[in-house]
């Protein structure tokens, strides 16, 4: 796969193609699989994403610790806020839904990881529904998302233990931003700016889950990550350009991750995990897991 988003954008625009096209062509070459076969795998991923969103929206799931669950349904059903009846609100609910399913040991697509699995399906399926976009186009968008994730894996990291939450939900948001920008008619360059505009807003985000469990704040970070991705998409589609290229923003995410204290890299040694309430809840809830 490409190691620089800049190269993929140059190839795509030089050949009058989309990022998803050059990504699928490169994947086919790399792996010796036909493009149809790769698209079929992405199609199965989309089915699992939709089914996880459906399961999460029922509001009946709880994590093994009991710390998270049921909030996606609240957001979905209660129209009290300023975003009522907008795709924005629906997308936030979808992101919570996937992560609640994940925390309850349900089946999800780790894209890019399990902890950051909410943002990409929420943004893509939410926008597809709002704009009546057919599944074939959503599958194309997943290929663009995979390209961005692969570049981040090569240049920085996709692991909270290595790079903090910016490497998991930050990467998920950047992937969603590029994918949705193209899906809504943006050019490869605009998709690149969407990555940069989104990732700049996620830089420095620490990984600080209570008790080390992929529950809190992970579930909510996927919703706020979706919000930042939507901001990136909106700005990029308006033609706004971010002066630092996406690859350099990704590089700096990697650099910040490497410099980040180990307390903020999934060890539950700092951040929200180390607050008095965070410590108390983790202790009580882990005890509950042992008894169950």
């Amino acid at each position: 796969m490409y190691r620089a988003l800049g190269d993929a954008i140059r190839d795509a625009e030089g050949q009058g193609k989309s990022l998803w096209q050059v990504a699928l062509e490169r994947e086919s070459e790399d792996q010796g699989r036909s493009i149809d076969d790769i698209r079929a795998s992405l199609g199965r991923a989309l089915e699992v994403m939709r089914s996880a969103i459906g399961d999460g929206m029922t509001g009946e799931l709880r994590s093994s610790s009991g710390l998270v669950g049921g909030d996606a349904a609240k957001l979905f059903n209660d129209a009290a806020g300023p975003l009522a009846d907008t795709p924005f609100r629906d997308i936030l609910a979808r992101a919570l839904a996937v992560q609640e399913v994940n925390a309850a040991m349900g089946v999800i697509v780790a894209a890019p990881t399990a902890g950051g699995a909410g943002t990409l399906p929420a943004v893509l399926t939410g926008l597809a529904k709002a704009r009546s976009i057919p599944d074939e186009k959503v599958i194309d968008a997943l290929a663009t998302a995979g390209l961005v994730g692969a570049v981040i894996a090569e240049r920085a990291s996709l692991s909270g233990a290595e790079g903090g939450c910016q490497a998991e939900t930050g990467a998920g948001a950047a992937m969603a931003a590029a994918a949705a920008t193209e899906m809504l008619g943006g050019t490869p360059s605009q998709a690149g700016h969407a990555v940069a505009l989104t990732m700049q807003g996620m830089l420095g985000l620490v990984c600080d889950p209570l008790g080390g469990l992929v529950e809190l704040p992970c579930v909510f970070r996927n919703a706020t990550g979706s919000a930042i991705a939507l901001a990136g998409i909106e700005m990029a589609l308006a033609g706004i350009k971010f002066a630092i290229p996406a690859d350099e923003v990704i590089d700096v995410m990697g650099e910040i991750g490497r410099e980040m204290d180990v307390r903020y890299r999934e060890t539950a040694g700092g951040g929200l995990a180390a607050t008095p309430t965070g410590r108390r809840l983790a202790k009580e809830r882990l005890y509950q897991i042992r008894r169950s």
């Binding site: 796969m1 990504a23 699928l24 994947e27 790399d30 792996q31 699989r33 790769i38 795998s41 992405l42 199965r44 991923a45 699992v48 994590s63 093994s64 610790s65 399913v101 994940n102 925390a103 309850a104 040991m105 349900g106 089946v107 999800i108 697509v109 780790a110 894209a111 890019p112 990881t113 399990a114 902890g115 699995a117 997943l142 290929a143 998302a145 995979g146 390209l147 994730g149 692969a150 894996a153 090569e154 996709l158 692991s159 233990a161 290595e162 992937m175 008790g211 080390g212 469990l213 992929v214 529950e215 999934e266 060890t267 539950a268 809830r285 882990l286 897991i289 042992r290």
Partner: protein, 223 residues
């Protein structure tokens, strides 16, 4: 080389690609060493596997792998009960392996009939795993390919002999890694194959009098 489908995937039971999906894959690799569900298994958890494993279902996922369940199998949630029904007697222990061990590492010691095996493996994140030791021998197995690991005397023509056995069985080699500690010492070989070498291939390799030890592991991830 990163694949699109590694990024948009795997499809898995939550909550953690490293602590759940990766753990399940390590269990599957270990199961392959005893050709089926073991009757006895001791699982020693190191680092983060020991500290946060319960909350992530690492225990359930490892046992699920030993039972032959893949990372997207919802039976992972109830694998500990299923293990009892299937006659798998498992025991978890917390341990501290060497400082250089990855934080998510497990040592599994298995018995099935008169077959014994041990494996040390780590979950590297995003569901990727690395087996670093089998039966006490250092190896380097990712589970992305069907793999043969072997230890042989360092002698001329050994690679040619082994690759010709694979060719005779119509097995294509993807990668081959050979290391040795010193000239004339043991040679360690890890061969990743596109096709699954059967037990017949392993037994043919084992029958060579200069091969000290050989194992085959079926792939547990990748396309």
């Amino acid at each position: 080389m990163v694949s699109l489908l590694d990024i948009i995937g795997p499809v898995m039971v939550g909550p953690s690609s490293s602590h759940t999906a990766g753990a399940c894959r390590l269990g599957l690799l270990a199961r392959g060493l005893v050709n089926g569900t073991p009757q006895k298994a001791t699982l020693e958890l190191h680092g983060s596997f020991a500290r946060t494993g319960e909350g992530h279902g690492t225990d359930k996922a490892l046992v699920a792998g030993l039972l032959g369940f893949r990372p997207d199998d919802e039976r992972i949630r109830t694998s500990l009960q299923i293990a009892e029904q299937e006659g798998l007697d498992y025991r978890f222990e917390k341990t501290t392996l060497s400082d250089s061990s990855h934080p998510n590492t497990v040592r599994m010691t298995l018995e099935r009939g008169d077959i014994h095996a041990s494996l040390v493996g780590s979950s590297l994140g995003a569901g990727r795993v690395l087996v670093t030791e089998i039966d006490g021998y250092p190896v380097d197995v990712t589970g992305n390919f069907h793999t043969i690991a072997l230890v042989a005397e360092d002698k001329k023509g050994s690679i040619a002999r082994i690759t010709s056995i694979l060719a005779d069985h119509d097995i294509n080699i993807a990668t081959l890694k050979l290391t040795r500690k010193q000239k004339g010492g043991d040679a360690f070989m890890v061969i990743e194959c596109d096709d699954s070498p059967g037990e017949g291939v392993r037994d043919e390799i084992r029958s060579l009098d200069w091969v000290r030890w050989a194992r085959r592991l079926d792939k547990v991830s990748g396309a």
